[in-house]
């Protein structure tokens, strides 16, 4: 059962990407959480800093960027894995993240985002008293 769910989930993702095809690519991401915040790495090859757009508001995060490659004018495609020139992906955020303090860094086509948690939400050790 869980297998079937997984397959249909993947198909959905595929359909979503295809319906936007010619327009957007879904960047591959790693998302890691530790007690003080969330770190996101996204693959966006061919995107430079000027063409990258990271938008954060209270409850959502959007990353998008245009691929810019120097290509000769008269070039014909012989083979193409990548058939779109824009990366775009969005996530919903939750209220404990401090959206004012997000840090972004782009190096060699890898975007790194750090979303820290608000201080009030960082875990406090609760003393358990034995009675």
């Amino acid at each position: 059962m869980s297998d079937i769910e997984k397959v249909s989930g993947e198909e959905q993702k595929e359909v979503q990407t295809q319906s936007d095809s010619g327009l957007t690519l879904l960047p591959a991401v790693d998302i890691h959480e530790d007690p003080s915040g969330i770190t996101l790495h996204a693959d966006m090859p061919g995107v430079n800093r000027e063409r990258l757009n990271v938008q954060v508001d209270a409850d959502s995060l959007l990353i998008e960027g245009d691929v810019e490659l120097a290509m000769p004018k008269s070039m014909q495609a012989l083979y193409a894995d990548v058939r779109a020139t824009r990366f775009r992906r969005s996530f919903t955020l939750s209220s404990e993240l401090d959206t004012e303090a997000v840090e972004a860094n782009l190096k060699d086509g890898v975007l790194t985002l750090r979303l820290p948690k608000k201080v009030a939400h960082q875990p406090r050790k609760i003393q358990v008293q034995s009675v």
Partner: protein, 148 residues
């Protein structure tokens, strides 16, 4: 009993025909090279052709350029490399929600058109894209012929 199987066959044929059409729209590059890899393999590669040469774009963000090796023998281009991925802490307090990015070593071999000149290759890596330009042999470039 076999009716269903036959139906399945036609559905598959339709799918293959569609796939062939998509492939052939890319100016006749064979749909399946013997060296082709599954879709979605790392790294994604685009190949384009002009009268002067062949341009290869390898979409490989975050590469360790020290370990990147590009070599060409006749018309066979080999790209070998390694992509380090940061290993963040996984414990009872921290861990990954999503891991989609490829990590580790990779090797891709591409068959280029027969008329490329293996002596004239340029490669550069910027913004996570490795761009390789291979020139065509002089004799293979189209020439304007004056009619007397």
């Amino acid at each position: 009993m076999f009716g269903n199987l036959l139906d399945f066959d036609t559905a598959l044929d339709d799918f293959l025909r569609l796939q062939r059409e998509i492939g052939s729209s890319l100016s006749g590059w064979p749909v399946r090279s013997i060296r082709s890899v599954a879709r979605g393999s790392f790294p994604a590669i685009n190949v384009g052709s002009t009268d002067d040469g062949v341009h290869i774009y390898v979409f490989a963000p975050g590469l360790d350029t020290e370990k990147l090796d590009v070599s060409i023998q006749n018309n066979l281009l080999t790209v070998v490399g390694e992509r380090p991925t940061p290993q963040l802490e996984t414990s009872e307090k921290a861990g990954y929600h999503m891991r989609e990015r490829y990590g580790g070593s990779f090797r891709r071999v591409l068959t280029l058109p027969d008329d490329v000149d293996p002596e004239q290759v340029e490669a550069k890596y910027s913004d996570g894209v490795l761009q390789i330009a291979v020139s065509r042999r002089q004799s293979a470039k189209p020439r304007q012929i004056t009619v007397k």
